[in-house]
Symmetry: C2
Subunit: 484 residues, 2 copies
């Protein structure tokens, strides 16, 4: 084993990443070099673990990794609700990886505790929670679980000690269009997925307030306890925003906790132009937001924000004396650990801090505005264009959903059989795009609306896209779809 | 805003980190430059977020961050169950940060899905689970929650749908010495902290099997359902190993799930010499292990391992069609997302993969052996040395716990008042060490044994310590403690 020092080793890694083109993928490179998993296993047969390898061999394997990984920072990557990473976010990530510590106490994370406080303060300002508090969590699913747990603690503080066994069923309300983490959370937290009521949506994927109200009445009449309404601000597939003001009115009137899953759409709060899409969020009790999505903070970066700041610690504290000694040499209110369900906790705040610090509120807002402009540009471009059939006539977040109709299927009655053929366009074109490495974007059916497979193109802040790149996507559809 | 490219920017960050000494802290540097949090807030007053800053200013703030952060990789850092980072682990961390993707599907993480499979395969081999499966989770607390949730699903699969409301209380058994994550998990998962039975320990901090058996009988006689026994392999404070063989016999006989929290001590499985400390772990149903602790994988790196591999997906799946399409172009069994409670999931496997690949099984075993040798060396050195009073006569993991008795308190009867003075030695000396920046190590009381504050010195694999460094700790105690 050679003895390169850390600095030397990391420099070599950076060089490998740079040379491979993975650090800032250019448009004429491939977004992915696709192999079937079984074939990839053969190509990467030296990935098995047992014997040691030399540093040079390790770097060769890193090179192979960079070459064969998906380039999420490629201009033609529109596949997920995240994409390329903000370079200033990457600065913070590198620093926190190298300094390797846990966020639980000020004692071992003095600077990172402060950066966490600053980012939480700035985020609370975005949602306008005046005496709020917050915590970084390892992702949106867990942030949403925080919402459920805190709402339960508020209503039934004894659950912390005695569990759910003697209680009537507690019910969560969320839209049909909402993210599956609410269901997963209901399972883990002991509520059960049957106690998640999926409230009907309008044709833009937004929860219908009157449907919510009937659903709540129905649950109450069955002897169940309505615990929490989860609103979605930017849904996963359609990008829909639930009507926060109207839901807030219902929640306040009926005394039900209002949580907003703004993991995806919360980033619009940074834009003076678009933040009104989330009007009413300040009336919520809690909010989840993932800066690792649209904004390009390195994965993972998720925040749980709470209006009733004092509840976070009360709810989650265990008071472990080996970590939170009462006779510390500093004010232990600077320790965040007792607010978290975790013990050791990765420092996720610093990369958001570097990103925010370097770009400022205005810079972040400009990035968001640009991403939205590009998605609107794309939507307008495909509207009425032969072969493109948008799922929604208006843009919602930066998800642009559409069917692609190959020439041979155009101008035909939309029979069941016709739709079956459209359904296959998704996997067929995705396969072509992926095998050629020219474009990566997703497709899915939408079962609650009985919609057949359609494409979902997601525009994120990084890399900032150009109109020419959006045009290129249209061209690729027309090129690859012409002979389907 | 200057326009440095990613590569250039990261090179400058590496240089700043290197120059600050934070990448490989040397012994004669400070382990921490301590400031009271309020003072630090003043020093870092430019940490507030609003306006953008230049790249050079950002790098100055990074420099300040490196200077004022705790150096967990310093030879005199013995404060937590983690420490310095393995440089090969850091290679993997840098690569996965730069390639920024989520572990949920093979589609967006082709190479990382395979590295995850390889690491899980190698880890299952360590615990000897033949048809097992596993998943990376964001830390030991959540890995332990996986154990509770899967055990519950196995016994009461309907809980997933209907919740806990109609069930008799489900009870978890764990030792008095175990980690508080079991209690936090019981709260979150709806079982309630009252349904966590703390089983009595022997004088080395190990669960007493006969006490476990009586506790189980007691719960059953009260109409409760014994769900899971959590064994600790390497406890947080004393480093104790519960008797796995004996607990396994009880669990098998009574049909109770056996989980092993090996977050700390699991790393001993890598050592041919010391792995017998965990004899019987192959009889467990599930195991948690944190390579980010003793082994020095970058935080966060935690594994949940399950003997009954097929249960993981059954338990946790939600089958979101926008992510796990049934008509994918590749075999979707390569997608790991439905095994997880998370949706987006940070790639934590690759850094463990690079670390393991570079060092090999033997190299990792040698690092572990050396860490244990150094902790035994330290324990032997302080045994019988004036002023040092070990809490346990034998080493357990690499936690060495001891009281330090200043000269004026030596050779005196150990009255209550004497202990009150010893109790204050912990915070007093910690304050001195920290303010001088010469040593960082922890102290705590152990309330269930009514033990007053004692020091806990934790030896991890990085940096590998020398005998001279262990001697240095003794010298520092004698130097700073002589006039207490």
């Amino acid at each position: 084993m050679e003895q390169t020092d850390v600095q030397g080793l990391l420099l070599r890694v950076l060089e490998v990443l740079h040379k491979s083109g993975a650090l800032s993928p250019v448009e004429d490179s491939k977004v992915i070099e696709f192999h079937q998993p079984q074939d990839l296993e053969e190509i990467l047969s030296d990935f098995s673990l047992n014997e040691s390898c030399s540093e040079s061999r390790l770097l060769e394997l890193v090179e192979q990794t960079a070459k064969l990984s998906v380039r999420t920072g490629h201009p033609m990557f529109f596949n997920q609700l995240y994409g390329g990473v903000d370079k200033y976010g990457l600065v913070g990530a590198l620093v926190s990886e190298a300094l390797n510590t846990s966020a639980y106490t000020h004692e071992v994370a003095p600077v990172f505790s402060l950066s966490e406080r600053e980012v939480i303060k700035a985020s609370l300002k975005l949602v306008n929670f005046k005496d709020g508090d917050g915590i970084f969590s390892p992702g949106g699913s867990i942030s949403n679980m925080y919402g459920i747990v805190v709402s339960r603690y508020k209503k039934f503080p004894n659950v912390k000690q005695t569990g759910l066994f003697s209680l009537p069923p507690l019910v969560l309300f969320t839209s049909q269009e909402s993210h599956y983490s609410i269901t997963k959370g209901a399972h883990w937290l002991g509520l059960g997925t049957d106690n998640v009521v999926k409230v009907k949506c309008d044709d833009r994927g937004r929860m219908i307030p009157s449907e919510l109200e009937s659903a709540i009445a129905r649950a109450s009449s069955e002897g169940k306890v309505p615990l929490m309404v989860n609103c979605t601000a930017g849904s996963t597939v359609l990008g829909a925003f639930d009507p926060l003001e109207e839901v807030a009115e219902i929640c306040q009137r009926l005394g039900i906790w209002m949580h907003v899953d703004a993991c995806w759409g919360g980033t619009l709060l940074l834009s003076a132009k678009h933040r009104n899409r989330l009007a009413g969020i300040e009336k919520a009790d809690s909010v989840s937001w993932n800066p690792h999505k649209m904004l390009g903070a390195p994965l993972q970066c998720s925040l749980f924000l709470l209006k009733h700041g004092e509840l976070l610690k009360l709810c989650n504290m265990a008071g472990a004396t080996y970590l939170f000694q009462k006779d510390k040499m500093y004010d232990p209110s600077y320790d965040s650990g007792d607010k978290s369900v975790q013990c050791g906790r990765k420092v996720d705040s610093f990369k958001l801090w570097t990103l925010w610090k370097a770009r400022g509120n205005l810079g972040l807002g400009a990035l968001v505005d640009h991403a939205i402009d590009m998605s609107i540009y794309f939507l307008e471009k495909i509207k009425g264009r032969p072969g493109f059939k948008p799922v929604l006539a208006e843009y919602e977040t930066t998800n642009i959903c559409f069917w692609y109709v190959p020439p041979r299927l155009r101008d035909q009655p939309e029979t069941e059989e016709w739709w079956e053929q459209i359904h296959k366009v998704g996997p067929t074109m995705k396969k072509k795009f992926t095998e050629e490495g020219v474009l990566l974007l997703g497709y899915q059916p939408l079962e609650y609306r009985e919609l057949k497979n359609f494409f979902r193109m997601v525009v994120t802040c990084h890399p900032p896209r150009s109109k020419e790149q959006m045009d290129r996507v249209v061209e690729l559809f027309e090129k690859y779809g012409s002979e389907l």
